[in-house]
């Protein structure tokens, strides 16, 4: 099976300061990876704020242009010349955003986005056909058109809204779903439903998912492969469980050590890992050596 998405040496810099200052902030530095090489998978991008993960997602979606490098989806570049090419791309690649309450216009009903997606991407014009397509997608996420029809965003919970957003993204039968922190703003009791849903998308519907998060625990739960980013650079990449069970890069180790959980309940649970922090800062300052193979088939950026 040919690779679905290939990111090759992509960098993105933003000019900061005035127009003439010439200074730049580097959001993403030389990122290369591929998704979907061996069938449907969940590929996770882990990073903190400022790691560049959202910028990377925007570039894959075609909302931003890389400063250098290219992104290729199904053999074709991701930047489009005209509207029909763009629509063809959007039919295959769909996003799910972080804040379900912002993803819908608070003054408008939510089914409107579902209807528009069905109309544009499935090329349906008959009202009954559009509604059937909407209902089918909603059933996939455990909801139904009867429940959602005519509702405004504030009438639904965060979990429901996020499921509607996923249903909308599924209507054109996309090959790739890019979920940017889809559960960080959803309540704890509703979160697992969405995370389980992402698993189902891969298993039952054959959709590749790029799952962007800062939460290592959910990443462990559903990812096949993952990639850890630190200030725009990929520091470790490879099989998910292997990396999270035994992280090798100092920053990955620091992340894992900072995760709170009931297991670490105790008086020293909040003790700072000063040595790990120092090691991870040192790794940042070290010259860029590129990714080299590590254990268990992973790629590691050595200091």
């Amino acid at each position: 099976m040919s690779t679905l998405l290939e990111v090759r040496n992509v960098s993105k810099s933003f000019p900061i300061g005035g127009v003439l200052s010439g200074r730049e902030a580097r959001a993403v530095a030389d990122a290369s990876f591929s998704v979907g090489e061996a069938g449907p998978e969940i590929f996770t991008i882990i990073g903190e704020s400022g790691s560049g993960k959202t910028t990377l997602a925007r570039m894959i979606l075609g909302l931003e242009r890389p400063t250098s490098g290219d992104i290729v989806f199904e053999g074709r570049p991701v930047t489009h010349a005209n509207r029909s090419e763009r629509l063809a791309f959007m039919a295959k690649v769909q996003p799910v955003f972080q804040n379900p309450f912002e993803a819908f216009n608070p003054l408008k009903q939510v089914d409107r986005y579902l209807a528009s997606t069905a109309r544009q991407f499935l090329k349906l014009s008959d009202k009954a056909a559009i509604e059937a397509a909407m209902d089918e997608a909603l059933q996939k996420v455990g909801l139904s058109l009867v429940e959602i029809r005519g509702r405004y965003p504030h009438e639904l919970s965060g979990g429901q809204l996020q499921r509607v957003a996923i249903a909308r993204a599924l209507i054109p039968n996309p090959a790739l779903l890019i979920a940017d922190e889809p559960v960080s703003m959803v309540d704890a009791s509703l979160r697992m439903a969405i995370v389980n849903l992402l698993r189902e998308l891969r298993d039952r519907m054959g959709v590749c998912v790029i799952y962007i998060t800062h939460d290592l625990a959910t990443a462990y739960y559903i990812s096949d492969r993952l990639m850890i980013m630190q200030r725009g650079r990929i520091v470790e990449m490879g099989p998910a469980r292997a990396i999270l069970d035994a992280p090798e890069h100092p920053y990955s180790r620091l992340l894992k050590a900072s995760v709170l959980s009931p297991e670490t309940m105790g008086d020293d649970s909040l003790a700072l890992q000063a040595d790990l922090i120092a090691a991870s800062e040192a790794a940042l300052a070290a010259p860029d050596s590129g990714l080299t193979p590590g254990s268990d088939g992973r790629l590691l950026r050595r200091a």
Binding site: E48, R241, L244, S258, V259, L260
Partner: protein, 342 residues
């Protein structure tokens, strides 16, 4: 008296009359609890559970349309007792910042971008402390150093600091007068995991170094596990369970708590995690009887009509469930935790 706060049947509603539409949102509906001195009490609940309204009441920060309609929230400060529900604005002003401090949600964004941090400290704390000029600055620097923050911060503008740094500044600001009682509303929600740990250890230090009692509100159970001594679970405006942290995780006695604890995924465990059906009820129109019954796997007919009282079911543990004895942890607790409880 070891308790610093005694809350008795507190009720606070949002009363709104807008264009003829009358809405009564029962955000806090009969909550009774007490908080001891020098303890960190965690309040867990989801969005629209009423927890933010509860702490607004406890922090004496209610504004219309939120109104206290019944009950009492009695503070036992060293300087005297004061009932928030009945106190006058003057009495409340006297305790704000000095005895009682409130770290609001999204604190990182509430610092005035046009003022240096040092000046912001002056704006907030000079009057309550009753100091000025050199003595004031001295006190602020000492305070920051005790919190292991660099006094250099005082010369920076808020936008020059990172989110985590700003949150630490806000915590420093809220505690400079050494209040006996601190309320923190989701202080680490928007922070990175590494920074979160640091901020939490800062909060813990507040308790150990200054002896303050802290009410820590967050929906993240993992944070409660790391920092809280006791945890109270709020659902739809009511307190449904309260227990020491380890007990809560090892042996929850309310179905909602059992679900909250079970839905925490952990690294190293890929077992299927359960999801809770339905959604939290609207506080304008809550279900009759036990408010959790539409989603509860253990619900009886009795639960639909009669409200279960919050009762002591084990030493230090209260639960509001008719079937508390039947509640089992959905996923076994980690060995270390279960051991400690036994």
């Amino acid at each position: 008296m070891t308790d610093i706060l005694t809350v008795e049947d507190l009720k606070a509603y949002y009363l709104m009359n807008y264009f003829g539409v009358n809405r009564e949102v029962r955000a806090v509906d009969g909550i009774s609890m007490s908080i001891a001195r020098n303890e960190i009490y965690g309040i867990a609940g989801e969005s629209s559970s009423g927890k933010t309204s509860l702490i607004k009441v406890l922090a004496a920060a209610t504004r219309p349309p939120l109104k206290i309609v019944g009950g009492s929230a009695l503070y036992h400060f060293k300087s005297g007792d004061i009932d928030i529900a009945k106190a006058s604005e003057r009495e409340l002003e006297a305790i704000r910042w000095r005895n009682l401090s409130y770290i609001m949600q999204g604190s990182m964004s509430v610092l005035n971008p046009l003022r240096k941090v040092g000046r912001i400290f002056e704006d907030f704390a000079a009057r309550p402390l009753g100091l000025s000029g050199g003595a004031f600055r001295q006190r602020v620097v000492e305070h920051l150093e005790r919190l292991k923050l660099s006094p250099q911060l005082l010369n920076a503008y808020p936008h020059e600091l990172s989110g985590g740094m700003r949150q630490r500044v806000t915590i420093g600001l809220a505690t400079v007068c050494n209040p006996e009682f601190i309320i923190a509303d989701e202080p680490t929600t928007a922070l990175d995991v590494v920074v979160q740990k640091d901020v939490l250890s800062l909060v813990k230090r507040l308790q150990t170094e200054f002896g303050s009692s802290i009410v820590f509100v967050t929906h993240d159970m993992a944070v409660h596990a790391s920092i809280a001594d006791r945890v109270g679970i709020i659902y739809a405006g009511r307190l449904v369970e309260e227990a020491p942290t380890r007990t809560l995780f090892a042996a929850p006695k309310h179905p909602y708590t059992a679900h909250l604890v079970a839905s925490l995924p952990r690294i190293g465990d890929t077992g299927q995690r359960p999801a809770l059906e339905g959604r939290p009820p609207s506080l304008a129109n809550p279900p009759a009887g036990c408010r959790f019954h539409p989603r509860c796997p253990l619900a009886l007919d009795k639960c639909k009509t009669e409200v279960p009282p919050l009762e002591l079911v084990a030493p230090g543990q209260r639960s509001a469930c008719w079937r508390w004895a039947d509640v089992r942890p959905i996923v076994p607790a980690p060995a270390k935790v279960a051991e400690a409880v036994r």
